[in-house]
């Protein structure tokens, strides 16, 4: 009995020590006068070590309980509890709250019914955002998937396949912010007569044309922004589609060849139907990413020059207009647009789980 009491005291002491240590660490990290490198180091230790210490202590608390049956009932709560808590705080509660406040005015004080939805469907600026998102959806999704298929099939035929693939999927490691700077430079414009420093305008001028303000002049500037996303996302499509294509049984392909099918026919009539499920998953995934596009537009144009998209408009409503009613109505619309595609993906994930 006394042994248990000693343990209890030790665990209480350790819990208090952890609490104060973490609090001291967080204050140290946050203080402006803390040298940044040291702050980063403390952050890593406190963040990573802290979370482990919390689980360990929670487990020790449970092990103090004398009845094994209660222990076994509590333990799943210790293991699963933090994940469920974070899920509730960061996803479930805010999502429900967003739906709720989308029926209220800018400060969520008065009920306004569907007025926010009426506003976003009426307001010309927001309608441009919807139009642009629809264009992005069609152009970017189709191009990414088609280019992904094309590169996956084509690269399979060269000896330096892995190197070739690397150059297409390297952009996956680059942020949309970085990619936007890269492409702003490709699109750079100088007045006619001065040397063009942007690659595209240099080509246009060399061919005898006038330099073009690629991302500034509607309506084609939207396409200039879409190219950035295509550049970023094609690698993702290629990796997944390439793996799927390599799984098509050789016997099927050989059989078609013996029947006299050309390479193109083999691809269209044998390989493509075989990987249909993967093509759908890739398409829905890119589609979701495209619907939520924000960074590229934010960095390139801030939504000016008719390039507005829903996610950027929502950010503008939140910060510039401070209208939480409009902002949350936009979020709900975005959610409704994403849900059908996301459900297809979740169903695929559950099916995979079933197959295992």
């Amino acid at each position: 009995m006394s042994k248990r009491v000693t343990r209890l005291f030790i665990i209480i002491a350790l819990s208090l020590a952890l609490f104060f240590a973490l609090r001291a660490c967080f204050q140290f990290i946050q203080a402006p006068e803390t040298p940044r490198l040291l702050g980063a180091l403390v952050a890593v230790i406190a963040g990573v070590g802290g979370v482990w210490a919390i689980y360990w202590l929670a487990n020790e608390w449970v092990s103090l309980i004398p009845f094994r049956r209660i222990q076994e009932k509590l333990l799943p709560l210790i293991f699963l509890g933090p994940a469920l808590f974070l899920l509730a705080v960061y996803l479930i509660y805010p999502a429900l709250n967003t739906v709720y406040i989308s029926f209220f005015d800018r400060r969520s004080e008065n009920f306004v019914g569907l007025a926010n939805y009426a506003f976003i469907f009426r307001e010309p600026d927001v309608r441009i955002a919807f139009r642009n998102n629809a264009q992005w959806l069609i152009v970017v999704t189709t191009t990414c998937v088609v280019l992904g298929l094309l590169t996956a099939a084509l690269f399979d035929r060269v000896k330096w396949e892995s190197l070739a693939k690397l150059s297409i999927f390297l952009p996956m490691a680059i942020s949309a912010v970085g990619a936007s700077v890269i492409w702003r430079f490709v699109y750079a414009w100088q007045p006619p007569g001065r040397p063009q420093i942007g690659l595209l305008n240099a080509i246009v001028v060399a061919l005898g044309g006038e330099p073009v303000g690629w991302y500034l002049r509607p309506p084609w500037n939207n396409l200039a922004l879409m190219v950035i996303m295509i550049w970023l996302q094609t690698g993702f499509c290629m990796v997944i589609l390439s793996a799927a294509l390599k799984n098509v049984p050789d016997e099927l392909i050989e059989a078609a060849r013996i029947d006299g099918a050309s390479e193109l026919q083999v691809f269209l009539n044998v390989s493509l139907p075989y990987i249909r499920g993967v093509v759908i998953t890739v398409t829905t995934t890119v589609l979701i990413a495209v619907l939520k596009v924000f960074d590229i537009v934010y960095v390139m144009t801030r939504g000016n020059y008719n390039t507005e998209v829903i996610a950027n408009r929502m950010y503008v409503e939140m910060y510039r207009f401070v209208n939480f009613g409009h902002g949350s109505a936009l979020a709900v619309i975005l959610f409704l647009a994403v849900v059908p595609a996301a459900l297809v993906n979740v169903r695929n994930m559950r099916r995979q789980r079933g197959e295992q």
């Binding site: 890593v44 899920l87 490691a173 700077v181 492409w183 960095v299 801030r302 959610f335 994403v338 995979q352």
Partner: protein, 292 residues
């Protein structure tokens, strides 16, 4: 069944093969050129960048006098990218490891513990993937402001953990649930507690799955702009690289010597991580690690 090769068909094969090789090379070149332009420009003198195209360096590629590190020195010190770099590290590393730990514990409970409502909870967690980030921003922003955790690093760690939970649990679960039952039962017979089983057997065996998710989450958090803008903000003391670079585009949009060097500073860490751990990253996205 092999057909006899005539000279003609051999010639055709060589031709097709060189066309394919040429086409592949062309695609790769188109894909790499934009980034190459940025990289080269970041090492050129500011005056040269604005008066001649970056491709002109190839006239005398080994004339080292045309390259300089000055752009980097300036952008790292005067424009605060050095600080932002460390802020990005401070924000990203815990935001990578905390969700792995939390998700691994949860996945273990879902796979190997018996309690009521287990399947239902799994569906709830994984189903939350359908919620776009935008659906959470306004309520969380208000919550953060009222709790005074807006602009703090632990605040963004927990935000990234919360957003990452559904995917992380899904990936960890699909791995942890595959660990042979015999291993776990043998340990139970030996008197090991769940916590011991988790820290020894599970952690050791699921390292590859954890690595996949870690690489993926690291890249995602480091490259993220929206979550950083909303939860950390533009204050120089805490702003991450993506935020500072996007501010730089807004305020110094024509200063290409700063933008090119700045963008490269923001890209170098994820590109190195990506090149080193490509294998895990690809395994991760093939297993369904997808986020937007």
């Amino acid at each position: 069944m092999k057909q006899p090769h005539t000279n003609r068909s051999t010639a055709r094969k060589v031709l097709t093969s060189s066309i394919v090789n040429g086409l592949v090379a062309l695609i790769c070149l188109i894909w790499l050129l934009p980034a190459l332009g940025l990289l080269i420009s970041s090492f050129r003198h500011p005056d040269h960048i604005t008066t001649s195209g970056w491709w002109t360096v190839f006239r005398h590629p080994f004339d080292l006098g045309q390259y300089t590190l000055e752009n980097y020195r300036r952008v790292l010190s005067a424009h605060g990218l050095g600080r932002a770099f460390l802020n990005s590290l401070t924000a990203t590393i815990p935001s990578t490891f905390i969700p792995i730990t939390v998700a691994a514990f949860a996945a273990y409970a879902l796979a190997w513990m018996r309690f009521p409502g287990r399947d239902w909870l799994f569906t709830l967690i994984v189903g939350s993937i359908v919620v776009p980030l935008q659906m959470t921003l306004i309520p969380l922003l208000r919550l953060y402001v009222s709790l005074k955790v807006s602009g703090t690093f632990p605040g963004i760690w927990l935000a990234h953990t919360g957003f990452g939970i559904p995917l992380a649990v899904y990936l960890m679960y699909s791995f942890i649930s595959q660990i042979p039952r015999d291993l776990i039962e043998a340990a139970t017979v030996d008197g090991a507690s769940h916590f011991q089983i988790f820290t020894t057997i599970i952690m050791r065996l699921s390292l590859p799955a954890m690595a996949s998710f870690a690489i993926f989450q690291f890249l995602w958090v480091w490259n993220d702009l929206l979550v950083s803008l909303v939860f950390l903000g533009t204050n120089k003391d805490v702003a991450t690289l993506t935020v500072v670079v996007s501010e730089l585009v807004g305020t110094r949009g024509q200063d290409w010597h700063l933008l090119t060097a700045g963008a490269f500073v923001a890209m170098v860490v994820p590109v190195i991580v990506f090149l080193l751990f490509q294998r895990y990253f690809i395994r991760g996205i093939l297993a369904g690690a997808v986020k937007g």
